[in-house]
């Protein structure tokens, strides 16, 4: 690891003041807007991604601004839902009674991720900004368009089993690794951002960007912004009709080959509301935009299969991840069946 300066801030204005001009950083890891091995200052909260990447030399911040003692640790009920502070730990969020009762999908997704030790440290803001697990990204001696724009993507012709099949480009097929964000995408969460110029709220689906020609740009955050919280809309989904399915090689402490967050509103056998999102197979937490097409349909495995076919119609696979197309379809069906309570 390279040496760095360390500064601790406890108030938001102080934190924002550290984001001077061209220097920018977000939470744990975060995007690298300008690509390359940025030496810009980084915020650090739990550090569960950032410290790894610093040891691997993938990020080389000259300064860490420790925001972990800032007061963004509350989970508050608001008029239109719940506002989660950016520094709430994954453990606290997963076990929060409001979240468990009304946003079960989020609790399930969090508990499917990482290990208890990591969840105790990892924060909501950091989880949103966690970086790719692509082995070519994580080794600075290899080519990678995300880390070193224009250098190429060895994953496409290389080892691609853990890579994405939707939202990919010919520049990058790296899968977004978060479980939490898949649930947030299903719930239609909105990200609260703040800068010295003011604050704004961005829907999660607009927050993340697919790689296109610029895999180094992973989200819409500006260099002067910090994530302050995540707003969940008013709850519509019963815990029993929310199912997070994580398919992985190892039963614990392993990233998703595919994950599905399925939330249904059901009246008898009739679907009144549906939101489905995918993880492990997409370059960003992937809300299935056809989710609404399930509304008005009856609970039926064939209907779920048709829905899965539609959701994957643009999927593009490489040699090692071809199986993910069929696996994802089956996983969508399984998650919907579980959410509908038919299995």
């Amino acid at each position: 690891m390279r040496p760095f300066n360390y500064e601790r801030v406890v108030a938001t204005p102080d934190a924002l003041a550290t984001l001077d001009g061209a220097r920018f950083r977000t939470g744990s890891g975060g995007k690298l807007r300008h690509g390359g091995m940025s030496t810009a200052a980084h915020f650090i909260a739990g550090g569960t991604t950032l410290l790894d990447l610093m040891k691997l030399d993938v990020v080389q911040p000259n300064k860490l601004v420790d925001i972990s003692r800032m007061p963004m640790t509350e989970i508050k009920e608001t008029d239109d839902g719940v506002l989660i502070g950016a520094l709430v730990t994954n453990s606290d969020l997963a076990s929060n009674p409001i979240i468990k009762a009304r946003y079960s999908i989020l609790s399930q997704a969090l508990l499917a991720g990482a290990s208890q030790q990591l969840r105790n440290k990892a924060t909501v803001g950091g989880n949103i900004l966690q970086r790719s697990r692509c082995p070519y990204f994580r080794d600075p001696s290899m080519d990678c368009n995300k880390r070193n724009p224009g250098s190429g993507c060895p994953a496409i012709k290389g080892f691609s089993r853990m890579h994405a099949i939707v939202g990919v480009s010919d520049k990058c097929i790296s899968a977004h690794p978060s479980d939490m964000c898949v649930a947030l995408a299903a719930l239609g969460a909105r990200i609260h951002l703040q800068s010295t110029a003011g604050s704004r709220v961005v829907a999660i689906n607009e927050f993340f960007l697919t790689p296109e020609n610029h895999p180094e740009i992973e989200n819409v955050m500006r260099s002067d912004e910090i994530i302050t919280g995540v707003q969940l809309p008013a709850s519509r989904f019963n815990p029993e009709n929310s199912h997070y399915l994580k398919v992985r090689d190892r039963e614990s402490f392993s990233f998703a080959i595919v994950s599905v967050a399925a939330c249904l509103e059901i009246d008898g056998t009739s679907i009144k509301g549906a939101r489905v999102a995918l993880g492990g197979v997409a370059t960003k937490p992937w809300f299935i935009s056809e989710s609404d097409s399930l509304i008005g349909k009856t609970v039926d495995s064939e209907i779920f299969r048709d829905f899965a076919e539609a959701a994957l119609k643009t999927a593009q696979a490489q040699k090692h991840n071809k199986f993910k197309i069929e696996l994802t379809k089956r996983s969508i069906v399984r998650a919907l069946e579980k959410a509908a309570g038919v299995i």
Binding site: M1, P135, G158, F159, M162, E251, E326, R330
Partner: protein
């Protein structure tokens, strides 16, 4: 009752005597020795598989405050012996003799600094440029280059080809196993310290003597000038049987800098320079009569190896030995590739070979429409078919029967894919476990002090297996002492000689030596007492005197006694010693010796998503006499868990476009988590084996993994009807 009060003997469960040291952090591992003026090394590894270093720029690294030097082929810290006896090791370790690159991950430079932070930082600043050459890292693409290894013979009996052709029922299939990486919990680390021309290595090794000898040869030192300490080892699984480059490099740097140097490989640096289990391609052909009697067996193994050191994964030895067939053929071929050195990994040859053999046995049983247990019972070998010698002991049939009954095998449905539990398919599978038994020469010393306590010494190792505890039990039985009165000292090359701790040989070799040395100590003690007029045992017959709870007494009248303490106190030295050198006799010429076992496994497979889960496991094992049931059980649990990993998870992934390993950390190189491992029921059958060694111990470190992956694969077939002949059985192979 505390452990101290229980009468201790071989076969009584004893908690680890070093448990407290380990949980309190007092057990000292290789990277934990705090030496004065210690310098810290960080290795830099090649990022290409073949070619040479053209430029190595160290100026920026040298400018980092605290950096002492950056060594590479341009300024190697010392010379490597060019004597004949050192050449083989020097030429496989690449100790900066030149700028050639032989595999990705080869150590090509070494940063040394006053502190680890500076060394790590400086390592990032060393800029290396290469001239690349073409390379081959893919076994499956290079099978045409398979060659017969120089020191391997094909094993033949009868006429396999003819017998196979005319046989009524047969199978012939090819199975593959991937490269695997050992991943012991304790990383590879060494601290090298010189005192004049004398070198002390604080190492993490399965061989303090072999390390001492190898390093002495490489550095042109007399053997007595090197001391290797490795009192605790956090696992090795075979990867620490060998000296790897970081050890002599640390020693060379320490000598050059005239201060101790510590060099630890980080987890992601351990994929390449410290060995791997090579990938294999195995073809097994079996033929039987209609009644299930095996007629012909052929096992052809091809394994990858590095281009600089031939290693043979001897997959075919089991097939030639443990099943009766008049006609058999066993062959090994190797394919040299541009990869790091292949080496022994837990049950080398047997773990991989038994996967193919025991799957093929299951396939043939299926063809015969025979129960796999019945098929194996029918083909129990009443002798070793490889050597034609009788078994020293063999409880394999009992293993099948006892484990099958405990498992409930009779309820198994032979029709694959016929048992369903919701969305999951349930299957049952079994396989034979077997491992060769060897014994090596070993020495031990025992010292009784004037407080009646005993120190037992031997230069063997506790590689996490529980050697300290098991040897305590052996000494306790021989001397009738509580554990608290016995101190076992291991892992120091200044102690009496012991062989490397590999091949499940430690207890058979060193346990036997410790038993003998304790007997010798006792005999010395008795002789002192009966020849001393001050002793109540004066002039008694040695044969009439026995040890009882820290004293000598008459067998016939325990009231005629004298404590060990009192006897030792009267000696001029205040202690009594005994030393023995023990070695195998002619038993290997008279008997075939092997451990055996039977695994029975239930798996469930998600019918739609393909994920395999091992639900429960029953295994019965014949490893001869069990010294400590607690740690022996742990050995089987570890072996089976290792087998579950082999069956379902482990795979060192090489991107053959770049010739590099791309899952070099334990987040992506999957070993089983607790959630992957469920009930494992371990049963020991303990046949009396009077031939294998005096204690009747056959060894248990590797038995658990043999056959384990096959048992899982066979259960997956029973669950799904799909034969996966390519490990690991990941879900994509079952969609």
């Amino acid at each position: 009752m505390t452990q101290k009060e229980v009468e201790l003997k071989i076969g009584k469960p004893l908690d680890r005597v070093d448990g407290r040291l380990k949980v309190t952090g007092a057990a000292r591992y290789a990277a934990e020795w705090k030496l004065e003026n210690l310098a810290y090394g960080v290795a830099i590894q090649s990022t290409i598989p073949t070619g040479r270093v053209t430029t190595i720029s160290v100026d920026r690294a040298r400018q980092v405050s605290g950096v002492i030097d950056v060594f590479s082929y341009k300024n190697k810290p010392g010379t490597v012996s060019d004597e004949e006896d050192a050449r083989e090791d020097a030429e496989r370790l690449f100790l900066f003799q030149d700028n050639e690159i032989h595999y990705a991950g080869q150590i090509i430079a070494l940063v040394v600094a006053d502190n680890l932070t500076a060394a790590r930082h400086a390592a990032k600043l060393v800029n290396i440029e290469y001239e690349r050459e073409s390379f081959q890292t893919d076994l499956s693409a290079n099978l045409k280059h398979a060659k017969k290894p120089e020191d391997a013979e094909d094993h033949k009996r009868g006429d396999f080809k003819k017998a196979f052709l005319s046989a009524p029922v047969k199978v012939s299939q090819t199975y593959t196993t991937p490269m695997e990486t050992h991943n012991p919990l304790e990383p590879f680390g060494v601290t090298a310290a010189w005192d004049g021309d004398e070198l002390t290595l604080y190492d993490s090794t399965q061989g303090v003597y072999s390390t001492k000898q190898t390093v002495a040869k490489i550095l042109k030192l007399a053997k007595e000038e090197v001391r290797v300490l490795s009192p605790f080892v956090g696992g090795g699984f075979g990867s620490k049987l060998t000296v790897w480059a970081h050890v002599p490099l640390a020693a060379m740097a320490a000598r050059h800098l005239k201060r101790p140097v510590k060099l630890v490989l980080a987890r992601n640096q351990m994929y390449g320079p410290v060995g791997c289990r090579p990938a294999t391609v195995q073809t097994v052909s079996l033929a039987a009569e209609n009644d299930g009697r095996l007629i012909a067996i052929k096992h052809e193994g091809i394994s990858e190896t590095s281009k600089f050191k031939d290693y043979i994964e001897t997959v075919a030895d089991g097939a030639f030995s443990i099943y009766p067939s008049e006609h058999a053929l066993a062959t090994h071929r190797i394919v040299p590739l541009d990869i790091g050195e292949a080496t022994w990994m837990r049950a080398p040859g047997h773990a991989t070979g038994s996967y193919a053999l025991e799957c093929a046995m299951d396939e043939l049983a299926h063809e015969l429409k025979m129960d796999p247990v019945e098929f194996r019972l029918k083909n129990w070998a009443n002798k070793d078919y490889a050597s034609d010698l009788p078994w020293s002991s063999n409880s394999l049939r009992e293993c099948y029967r006892v484990a099958a009954e405990k498992f409930g095998w009779q309820n198994r449905n032979m029709q694959p894919g016929s048992k369903r539990d919701g969305s999951r398919l349930v299957g049952h599978g079994m396989a034979t476990a077997f491992h060769s038994v060897w014994r090596n020469p070993a020495s031990a010393k025992a010292i009784m002090h004037n407080d009646g306590t005993v120190v037992v010494q031997s230069a063997t190792h506790d590689i996490g297996t529980g050697t300290y505890t098991a040897l305590t039990l052996v000494a306790a039985e021989k001397l009738d002492l509580p554990a608290a009165s016995i101190k076992v000292e291991l892992g120091d090359s200044n102690l009496p000689y012991a062989p490397v701790s590999g091949g499940s040989t430690t207890m058979g070799s060193v346990g036997t030596a410790v038993a003998a040395v304790c007997e010798s100590l006792l005999s010395n003690l008795i002789s002192l007492a009966i020849n001393d007029s001050k002793s109540p045992l004066h002039k008694k017959h040695a044969d009439d005197v026995v040890a009882r709870r820290g004293a000598l007494c008459l067998k016939t009248d325990e009231s005629v006694r004298e404590t060990f303490e009192a006897i030792v106190r009267r000696t001029s030295t205040g202690q009594i010693e005994a030393s023995v050198d023990s070695k195998p006799g002619d038993e290997e010429e008279k008997f075939a010796m092997s451990t055996f076992g039977a695994h029975f496994v239930e798996v469930s497979v998600d019918a739609d998503l393909g994920k395999v889960r091992v639900e429960r496991w029953v295994g019965a094992f014949d490893a001869g006499r069990i010294v400590n049931p607690k740690t022996a059980r742990s050995q089987i649990l570890g072996g089976v868990t290792f087998g579950i990993g082999m069956a379902l998870l482990e795979h060192t992934l090489i991107d053959h476009n770049i010739g590099r390993i791309v899952n070099a950390d334990i987040a992506e190189y999957h070993i089983p988590s607790h959630a992957d491992v469920h009930d494992i029921d371990v049963i020991f059958l303990e046949p009396v084996d009077p031939h294998v060694n005096k204690l009747g111990i056959k060894g248990i470190g590797e038995l658990g993994i043999t056959g384990a992956a096959a048992a899982v694969a066979n259960a997956v077939f029973n669950a799904t009807g799909k034969r996966v002949r390519e490990l690991p059985i990941t879900l994509d192979k079952l969609l």
